[in-house]
């Protein structure tokens, strides 16, 4: 199995001189199995460049797994050129939103409306299918098995584990490990903490022993103080997860939009110094780099 980041940025695309090295597109990850089956995690703006790269392979079968429906993870869908070309098969997978009861097809249909986009959903020429996935319910794509788990974010968010050819990748989507909402002196504190601990164990189990763990690490600890509840993790929360899960490589992604290449690298150097013995390789997610496991 191999993979490539086509989008590593959180929230909003950030093109420009400051993000040339790591990239300014929003989330998109291409995974290829040893049989060359195509699995795509999220459809942020990075999916447009991926689409250009796929034109030479037409017709294609693409399996797009959406972690959640915030704009930065779906805004590239209408620009995924294979959807306009006959004989392509595009399968889009995602959960049912418990607030709206909407399935994942809304992620595309809501964007293909007269006011927002010139082409209607009915005009797409590829064969597009939607599949509702459930936490703990594995989905097969060729030799790969993809298993979702609910990870806390301000909207329903799935982390996906991909097991294939004896190797494994886990991507959190956007994820903020739940903190205790009570103060230590509150009656509810201990009980809530037991729920937090149980969920943590469930999450660690889902990513146990993966070869590559890709985590939302938007913030430094200092930044996180004023960003609690925004739904994103920190570099340190990513390291804590990787250590507990015994991951081999840890990729930090969902780079904060104002983060320049230089500041990203400065943070990275500090992480390497402060965590010399994590037992896993720490890496910054960077657009366009092929990663073989």
């Amino acid at each position: 199995m191999k993979f490539k980041f086509w989008g590593v940025r959180g929230s909003i695309p950030t093109p420009g001189a400051n993000t040339l090295k790591y990239g300014g597109n929003t989330t998109c990850i291409e995974i290829r199995t040893d049989d060359n089956d195509l699995i795509i995690l999220d459809a942020g703006t990075g999916i447009h460049a991926l689409a250009q790269n796929l034109l030479k392979e037409m017709p294609i079968q693409a399996h797009i797994f959406i972690t959640h429906t915030h704009w930065d993870h779906i805004q590239g869908l209408p620009f995924f050129i294979p959807i306009f070309i006959p004989n392509n098969q595009i399968k889009i997978y995602g959960g049912i939103d418990p607030v709206t009861n909407e399935t994942i097809n809304r992620a595309l249909s809501v964007q293909l409306q007269y006011s927002f986009f010139p082409i209607r959903e009915a005009q797409l020429n590829a064969r597009i299918e939607y599949t509702t996935v459930k936490p703990g319910g594995p989905v097969k794509v060729g030799s790969a098995t993809i298993t979702p788990i609910v990870l806390s974010h301000p909207v329903l968010n799935f982390g996906y584990r991909i097991d294939c050819d004896g190797q494994s990748i886990f991507f959190t989507g956007d994820y903020e490990p739940q903190l205790n909402i009570y103060d230590p002196e509150d009656d509810e504190y201990a009980e809530f903490q037991s729920f937090v601990d149980a969920k943590w164990d469930e999450v660690v189990l889902a990513m146990k022993d993966v070869d590559a763990l890709i985590v939302d690490s938007s913030y430094t600890n200092e930044e996180y103080v004023s960003k609690q509840g925004w739904g994103h993790g920190t570099y340190d929360s990513g390291i804590k997860l990787a250590a507990a899960a015994n991951a081999k490589k840890l990729f930090f992604t969902h780079h904060e939009p104002t983060r320049s290449d230089a500041s990203l690298e400065a943070i990275y150097q500090r992480l390497l110094q402060n965590h010399p013995e994590t037992g896993c390789e720490l890496l910054l997610a960077q657009e366009g780099v092929d990663i073989s496991l």
Partner: protein, 282 residues
């Protein structure tokens, strides 16, 4: 009651609004970007309608949980506060339960009974050394044990009115007169809804059998039974049933005391009522 009627009831309950104070507070708290998570959770977990709708959504097969989620707090940890908050706001958008229903069923008194039963049920669970998770499940079971009644008041007010009146007049248990006029008791209606919503087995059992202890062994249900009688004995609210049941031997064996002795042993717990009232009165 024929199944088509039950199905109709299930559909109607989907649109059932929550209690006025919690609707008002959810709207207020969700408009305030600085509202604290614990304040939001507190409001939701004190409203039977909001609680039940969140548990229903989260326990649906779409979220493939290996174990049922039995409390609002646990739902928050599982899926995130914002989703729970927006689910509550969705319930709030359905309006408010009308205090002046055609059944003449006082929904404020009902809520006071439900909330105090919930709190006492939790106290009893802690008293006999149940785990914190089981104790919080007892709170939820106490809160929801009479859910069927408020469904009757909302959707079958004419029949429920007759049941309430006859129960009072003849000093007979309400679940019996419900059967006569509705063809279904609040425990059966609650059980049917709880099963449909895939709530946890113990919670379904507590709702279904809180008047029928011989049916099963369920410590959670026993806490609810005892708390239900204590709440009535102390006149904390009113859920329409004029009868207070003595503790049978199984309950005395469980808690070591009879009803009056238990009320005595719990000391001064009027605060349970005062606290509950603060969640009810506008």
């Amino acid at each position: 009651m024929p199944n088509s009627k039950n199905d109709k009831l299930i559909v109607l309950v989907e649109k059932m609004p929550a209690f006025p104070k919690s609707v008002q507070q959810v709207v207020q708290l969700t408009s305030d970007i600085n509202a604290s998570a614990k304040d939001i959770v507190r409001v939701i977990e004190c409203d039977p309608v909001m609680t039940v709708k969140i548990l229903k959504a989260i326990n649906s097969s779409f979220y493939g949980l290996p174990q049922k989620i039995t409390s609002v707090q646990r739902a928050v940890v599982h899926i995130g506060l914002n989703t729970i908050k927006n689910m509550a706001l969705g319930v709030a958008a359905m309006g408010m339960l009308n205090a002046n229903n055609k059944a003449n069923f006082n929904t404020s008194e009902f809520l006071l009974h439900s909330l105090t039963t919930a709190a006492i049920s939790k106290m009893l669970a802690e008293r006999i050394g149940l785990s914190s998770t089981e104790s919080s499940d007892c709170f939820v079971a106490g809160l929801l044990h009479d859910f069927g009644k408020v469904v009757f008041a909302e959707f079958m007010p004419d029949e429920f009115k007759l049941a309430l009146e006859k129960s009072k007049e003849q000093q007979r248990p309400l679940y019996q007169t419900e059967h006569e006029f509705i063809g279904l008791s609040h425990t059966e209606a609650g059980k049917m809804l709880a099963e449909k919503w895939q709530l946890s087995e113990t919670l379904i059992d507590a709702i279904a059998h809180h008047h029928d202890l011989g049916h099963s062994q369920n410590v959670l249900r026993d806490c609810v039974f005892a708390a239900n009688q204590i709440s009535k004995y102390m006149q904390f609210g009113d859920s329409g049933n004029p009868l207070i049941e003595d503790f049978p031997t199984s309950i005395i064996a469980r808690f070591g005391l009879n009803l009056p002795a238990m009320c005595e042993a719990l000391g001064n717990f009027d605060y349970v009522k005062t606290e509950a009232q603060s969640f009810i009165n506008l």
